[in-house]
């Protein structure tokens, strides 16, 4: 316990200073969410590269939680879906059902190039399509994998903070 306390004292604050708020049109749902976005992450067929970056975005350095975004366990609690990867055949229906399970108002963020336009997996066996082919997408995050800053920026568009 003492060593943990010393570590806390030594490290101090690791969160980077908040960059300026992102420019760009906010998704329609952002107005009603007003500073609080609960996020449910759906892996529709990702290579797990994006997951690592999402983990970093919610980690202490980028700290997406300080803008009012929080990961939750149930889509019923969620306002936004964070979908990664191409939508594979087995995940198309579960993704649809997850979208169904979210209460209005809701938003979908497609994270990474695969989710946006199938990326390197375009036309591959077992791929149904990009996320937008299955559920309506409100925001996109570019990159393969995307940088944590861009994921945080997309979430900030939703929270408006």
């Amino acid at each position: 316990m003492l060593s943990l306390w010393q570590a806390i004292r030594r490290v101090g604050r690791v969160a980077e200073p908040a960059p300026a708020g992102p420019a760009g049109p906010a998704p329609a749902a952002a107005g009603e969410l007003a500073g609080s976005v609960q996020v449910r992450h759906v892996d529709a067929g990702s290579c797990n590269g994006c997951e690592v970056e999402i983990g970093a975005a919610f980690g202490p350095v980028y700290d997406a939680e300080r803008y009012g975004a929080r990961l939750v366990a149930s889509p019923r609690h969620a306002d936004a879906l964070l979908v990664t990867g191409v939508v594979t055949r087995n995940m198309a229906e579960p993704l649809r059902r997850t979208y169904e399970a979210v209460a209005e108002p809701k938003a979908v963020v497609a994270v990474g190039d695969c989710a946006r336009n199938c990326g390197v997996f375009a036309g591959a066996y077992g791929v149904v399509g990009a996320v937008a082919d299955v559920v309506p997408v409100d925001a996109e995050v570019v990159g393969c994998p995307p940088r944590p800053e861009t994921i945080v920026a997309a979430l900030r568009l939703l929270t408006g903070r």
Binding site: I8, A15, A34, E65, R66, Y67, A101, A103, E104, P105
Partner: protein
């Protein structure tokens, strides 16, 4: 029913409803800072509630009115406790209900209602959460009642205003072994009943490790807002009761505006400090395995029994 009691009851309800989400925000902020994060600010739970109230409610197919009524009852029962317990003033709005047994049993009833809602959803996680929550409740209840027993022996009554009044009259009792042992036992009860570490992890995302969260996975929108508000209020009320029982200074004994103001300020400061300490301690704790939890609770039960025995031997 005195003027002081009624005014105090209204004030307490307002302070608890308004302050409970802020307490939760404070605790998250303390934790975030200790983890090296910036944190979302103590107003975040209120922002979450505001948003949830704007969202749509969802009734899963196959659920009954038990599912729908449970969040309302959770908040209502906690609200009753917030009104009648001595938090801001020593007088109670409804003295005939301000009994320590009644208060603890009402809070337990609120838990039961949510457990029934979890069972009503008929999902595996709902049943699992309900089963675990009720198991913890069944093991916590004895500790709570025996600790109450220990606290009520010096006062000669289980009436909350009487117990708090006795302590105010004779503060030396607080450093008696009875009081200290009972305090430790009650602290364990509070940690277990409000689902904090090491009994339950309030911020877990993994269903299999959940206790409280697993029961409420089906709630959305305003229903979820009530569940979250109810949980936050439970925490505040428990901490408020704890501080009133063991650190009662500042609590209003007269109905003057100054005394009431001091009472509210003292309550906010005391509960805030207690919450911050709890949150800071949580950073150092890992969640216990579910089947290690009974050992913790059995230990607290023994402490409570010991408290009663010392109350007799030294009393």
């Amino acid at each position: 029913m005195t003027a002081l009691g009624v005014v105090g009851g209204v004030l307490q309800a307002a302070v608890v409803v308004g302050g409970a989400p802020l307490l939760l925000g404070l605790m998250r902020q303390v934790r975030a800072r200790l983890e090296g994060r910036a944190g979302p600010g103590i107003g975040q739970p209120w922002r979450d509630l505001r948003k949830l109230l704007r969202k749509q409610s969802i009734t899963p197919r196959g659920t009954t009115e038990v599912f729908r009524v449970a969040p309302v009852l959770l908040v209502a029962m906690t609200l009753v406790v917030a009104v009648v317990a001595p938090l801001v003033t020593t007088a109670s709005a409804v003295p005939a209900v301000a009994d320590l047994f009644v208060v603890v049993a009402l809070l337990a009833h609120a838990t039961v209602v949510i457990a029934l809602a979890g069972l009503d959803s008929g999902t595996a996680f709902g049943g699992m959460g309900a089963s675990r929550e009720v198991t913890v409740l069944a093991l916590v209840e004895p500790t709570a009642l025996v600790a109450i027993f220990a606290l009520s022996v010096p006062a000669g009554s289980t009436s909350l205003p009487a117990i708090v009044g006795t302590v105010l009259d004779d503060p030396q009792r607080l450093i008696s072994p009875t009081s200290l042992l009972a305090a430790v036992a009650l602290a364990t009860v509070i940690v277990a009943e409000t689902g904090r570490l090491p009994v339950d992890n309030p911020s877990t995302h993994l269903e299999l490790t959940m206790i409280h969260e697993a029961m409420v996975l089906e709630y959305a929108g305003p229903d979820l807002a009530l569940v979250e508000l109810g949980s936050a209020m439970r925490l505040s009320v428990y901490l408020g009761l704890f501080t009133s029982l063991f650190v009662p200074w500042g609590i209003a004994t007269t109905a003057t505006p100054l005394a009431l103001g001091v009472g509210v300020a003292a309550l906010v400061v005391k509960v805030g400090v207690a919450g911050a300490v709890l949150a800071a301690l949580e950073v150092f704790l890992a969640k216990l395995r579910l089947f290690r939890v009974p050992e913790l609770l059995a230990g607290s039960f023994l402490l409570a029994l010991l408290a009663v025995t010392t109350a007799y031997v030294l009393g």
